[in-house]
């Protein structure tokens, strides 16, 4: 009994100690990477009269002052790694506080619609990866019209501004493939989509099923359009391991449980920067692109910080940082920014196959069905 008491006391002391050594710095690895590794900080951040980054006005004086007392509440269905980097960078460039709630888009949509219906939507900005979900948000009034300072520039692009600014394309997600760089080297490295059909990858491939979200549905549609049903069937015959989420797949790839996988560009790049033995391929025969959409909510209409967040995201600085993370900027007319050693094609390039909101509305169901058949997958 005494031994147990001693053990209990020791364990409690440890618990108290771990809790007491708190007041952590809050300097996550993400904030370090956001400051330096991904992209050097902008040369000029001027806050003498509002917020001006590299010559572009993000907020006027009044908005900035109000925003500094406020906090951005961001709900996002976009990848956690990239959102962590983005919010850390936003904080570093603007000095405004931001808080993220992240969950997969479909789950997020349920949550947002429920909170909104009960007039309890806490988020100022909601970001999703599925055009159908964004459209539903717009219909239900989750999104309210808002025009950031770069609005006229944004209008020049296709599919960037929706319903006169009710929601915007923040940037595009790119989807290609990659490999475990410790397990695959030299001549073995796949370069084109057809290389994934090589018998040597049988049982060693990873894919996320096409119904798991907008980005993977887009990939399936791209593969069907560009290479035909035959290609998708043959890929299915390679007996890949099928995952529900990209993050879990990435983890399996990093451990070498699978060797080659179709992958979201930005999340994989994030893992690579964090030290995972991963390499991406930008195949010449095309990459798949899908939408990353965001809008201001009724609560965001009253939040100066939320407005600054949208202004910053659509500014050159925000778009450049997105590009450096492995997204394709939505704002037209920007200089290309490399993603580390990779260079993604611009949104208007032929190499970039975008799955538009119209595509999503008309073809999602049939695309998922074809994919499921080819991979003998139920879901």
């Amino acid at each position: 009994m005494r031994r147990k008491l001693t053990l209990a006391a020791a364990a409690t002391a440890l618990l108290v100690a771990t809790t007491a050594c708190g007041g952590g710095s809050g300097q996550s690895p993400a904030s370090e990477a956001a400051r330096n590794e991904v992209l050097p900080m902008p040369a000029q951040i001027d806050t003498s009269n509002g917020l001006v980054i590299d010559g572009e006005k993000i907020a006027d004086k009044q908005l900035l002052e109000e925003a500094k007392k406020d906090k951005v509440v961001l709900y996002s269905g976009s990848g956690k790694e990239s959102e962590d980097l983005t919010i850390a960078r936003f904080k570093a460039e603007t000095g405004i506080d931001i808080e993220l709630t992240r969950m997969p888009t479909n789950k997020l949509s349920e949550r947002v619609l429920s909170e909104h219906g009960a007039n309890q939507l806490g988020a100022g900005v909601v970001r999703v990866t599925d055009p159908l979900v964004a459209e539903q948000f717009a219909e239900r009034g989750v999104y309210v019209p808002y025009k950031p300072p770069s609005y006229d520039e944004l209008k020049k692009g296709d599919n960037v501004v929706f319903n006169d600014g009710q929601y915007l394309t923040a940037y595009y997600s790119a989807y290609a493939f990659g490999y475990n760089s410790a397990a695959v080297q030299g001549e073995d490295v796949p370069k084109k989509w057809a290389d994934l059909l090589d018998p040597k990858w049988k049982g060693k491939l990873g894919v996320v099923h096409a119904g798991a979200g907008g980005t993977v549905t887009a990939l399936a549609a791209f593969q069907l359009d560009a290479f035909g049903e035959d290609y998708v069937s043959k890929l299915g015959a390679q007996q890949p391991r099928i995952f529900d989420t990209t993050s879990v797949q990435l983890e399996a790839l990093a451990r070498g449980e699978i060797t080659v996988a179709t992958l979201g560009f930005n999340s994989t790049y994030g893992a690579e920067v964090a030290g995972a033995p991963l390499k991406l391929v930008v195949p010449e025969d095309g990459i798949s692109g899908s939408f990353n959409l965001m809008g201001l909510t009724p609560a965001g209409e009253k939040s100066a910080a939320a407005k600054v967040f949208i202004n910053w995201t659509m500014s050159q600085a925000g778009q450049k940082f997105a590009a450096a993370q492995g997204f394709v900027p939505a704002r037209p007319g920007l200089e290309p920014t490399p993603t580390g050693e990779y260079q993604l094609p611009p949104a208007d390039s032929e190499q970039f196959h975008l799955f538009t909101p119209e595509d999503a509305a008309q073809r999602s169901a049939s695309t998922i069905q074809s994919w499921n058949q080819a991979f003998h997958f139920t879901g």
């Binding site: 809790t19 050594c21 956690k80 119904g211 989420t245 139920t378």
Partner: protein, 586 residues
Amino acid sequence: MTTVQTRPAAPQEAPLPAPSGRRRRRRPKGLGSLPLLFVVSFLILVPAGFVLLAAFSVDIPRPGSINFDLTLQHLAVFIEPGVLRATVNSLIIGVSATLLALLIGGFLAFATARTNIPMRGFVFLIGLMPLFLPSYVGALAWSQLGSPVAGLLNIGMRDLGIDFTVNIYSMFGVVLVMGMFYAPYAFLLMHSSMSLMNPDLEDAAGVHGGSTWQMLRSVTFPLAMPAILGSALLVFTHIFENFPVSQVLATPGQIDTLPTFIYRLMNASPSRGNEAAVMAVVLVIVVLLVTLGQRRILARRSYTTVSGKGLKARRISLGRWRWPLFAIALVYLLLAIVLPLAALILTAVRTSPYMQSFSDLAVPGAIDFGSFGRVLQSDLFLDSAGNSVIVAVVSAAAGTLLAFLVGYTVYRTKAKARGALEGVSMVPLAIPAIVLGMGLLWTWLVMPVPLYGTLAVLMIAFVAVQMPQGLRGIASSIQSTERDLEDNAVLHGARRSRAVLSITVPLMRVGIASTFLMLLMLSMRELTVPLFLYTSDTHILSITIFDQFENGGALQQAAAMSVIYCLIMFVLSYLPRRLGSGGMNP
């Protein structure tokens, strides 16, 4: 750190039921059970009602768009390919893993309560320990250990030149992990029943010349029947609807189960919540039938074993089987605790996730213990840990109280509402947590009280979701406690409430303490329900770890956090063990 909401969880406000029982001539039967039924129904049936509505309404019933346009078209989900296979898989996993859990739990309970196995105290701890490892964390640890290519066990065997591959992404793997991590529930329930067993009946068997085996078969095991059936029901339904383990281990092996199927329906784009709800409603019906069957079996006989007489359960001498049986307990310890924790620690300290041989670890810089320090200092961890402890302690206390009130009313009174009370209390067991989570979200968003977004809503949700576990725990204890003592006190002029507090409660302290412990652990581990209810201010540890594993690609931090999480659970578990020290320690 987020502050605790001052508003106490609703169940604590529940009025005490007027215990009727033997004093029914002086009290109207069961009137006191009505307010209790109201509280329990409100906590459970309103969210369940949302789910039911979703199953048969045209649109998903969200706040602001609730309508009653009904349809049966969602039933079409049953003819989808894969539903039947998923159901069969779930049944196979449910039955096999339940048997495994009962076997492990029963063996350990019997060995510690009734035999002279070496180091009984330690073996008791072995039975309890997997409680500190949530099944989700256990499954993740096992996916690190037993994945066919990069699993640590497989790397180790390749290093040793053994040509054998462990594949945890298989039916066998899922059954093994589920069975191992649900065994402690069976162990706890059976241990309290076996240690409280009146030896007189067994002595009688012995005196009349029965062998030890005959005595066990005809007296001991039948007396333990309520506990065995209770744990079987509890464990089976838990496993049947367990989502995380299936998701981590079955999905990669392309084995669909009902929960992963429902999860996929919920996560389809657009969400097919209506169809998921239809499948959930059918699950509710099935489990209610099982509960009813269990009640029927138990209603036939009396299982009273605790009475006013002093008792000391007999210990059976194992003879030369002492050490071999001890070794079996050690194997369980190795598989359920030692290997998973070692895998998590290794994952937390490895600088590269990629490893081909254990010799890779000898390379300078391959190991870095810094991840533990970084996690311990992060605000995210500190906030989540604080929230988790507060939520778990409050909801376990409130849940135990409510379960006691319900259990007492159901098993000790003639209240008319007792059948309804028990039925309602068991409902959450049958609704997959993932669906109930959504029902709870809708409920507390619609309620005119501003609880949503606070820790209180998590507490209320946990009390509701864990009502069946609480009730089963209390029930097996109340059924084996003699009621005459309490009635005697009443006959001698004590008020019923006083008699309950000073006689029944102390007699049941072991059962109450183990119920509290079980609810505490369940709350600490609960993942699926808070997934819908948490907000940025109310992060709890299970969610944070899930987020890092599932969405964050932060395997290393998540592994480090999992280890610390287990440690916290271990520490917390001491509190109730001190409370019930008389019986909890063998």
